[in-house]
Amino acid sequence: MCRLCEMYASEGIWYLDAGNFAHQMYKLREPGGKPQQSSESTASMGGSLLKEAIEAKCDGNEEKFSELVEQINERDKMYATCHVLPLKDALAVMDIASPVAKMACICRKRQRAWEEDSNTYSCLGLGTGMLKWERWPERYRGGVEFLNPEEAKEFLIEWDRKGMVHIIMSEGQGFIGGICNCDYPDCLQIRHRLDYGINYTVTKSHYVAKVNYDICNGCGVCVQRCQWGALKLEVTTQKASIDQFRCFGCGLCQTGCPRSAIELLDRMSLPALREVW
């Protein structure tokens, strides 16, 4: 069972539940009152603990590394975090969330000093918070640009074509605030999970990819699109081979396949993968 659906959905997938987009973003303040200081986010707390863990690993202290990673995981599993979703689900979210705005990616700025402008924005912000982001661009990453649902869908399709994984972002209590288009190593969540076992920072999707060997001709397009190291060209059979235990169900292999030889199965339909998130 998906931990996030257990916590935040009455039925179906949690990110298709409109209630999770309807968080009260604006709090009334007494006239003359001071704004609440926001506490340090869980992500940055995770960052400093992870740095300590990496330093321990570099100094040869594997035991301390494992202890710290376990400590981060114990804390993260109490919270809603990020969830991989395939293009078709990301498109469905565009009909639920409003307003939708494109904005600059914060991970790429941190990892590669990558600056995005309105021509290169790669992230989508969702919900009423975006009105605040548009109003005060100097406060929020240089502002945002609103998209109607059709434009937002085209935006997602374009990033999918380029080979970015879609990840839906939630903030602590299940409120959904965005959909990012991500790749390794620039995405903090993907990187921290794959390289260090920070396992709750990004959850695998509700789907698992499967190759239809009768249709696959071994062209290898899908292999280049997998961010997770789950796909290879099997030399013996000359077909794409997916390690379904490593597969995150992002669907990039499926949307990229020129012969439609890959399908996404419901994770729950595979008994051994039901608890692999």
């Binding site: 926001s38 990496i54 690993k57 040869g60 941190r110 590669r112 000093a113 661009p137 406060r139 620039d186």
Partner: protein, 87 residues
Amino acid sequence: MLMPKIEIDYSKCTNPMLCKKCIQVCPTAVFEIQTLKMERLKETDLGDPDAFKLDVFYRDRCTACNDCVNVCPVDAIKIILPEATRP
């Protein structure tokens, strides 16, 4: 397992957000930009020399290839190998 140490001379490396050379050349993306000045409700000025710091976050990924050392225009990066791996 002992990993290389990366030393950065912060008197020479003052604004990585304007330079970006090492952070974009690194094959394993070892570096990270830290934002030192975080004022509530204010976007940090990219040109502010005290606002950003180059941090070696993913030290375990460093292969000591020296690409960052060679690309640095102000000679601010030094990679120190642990004794056991020195040629």
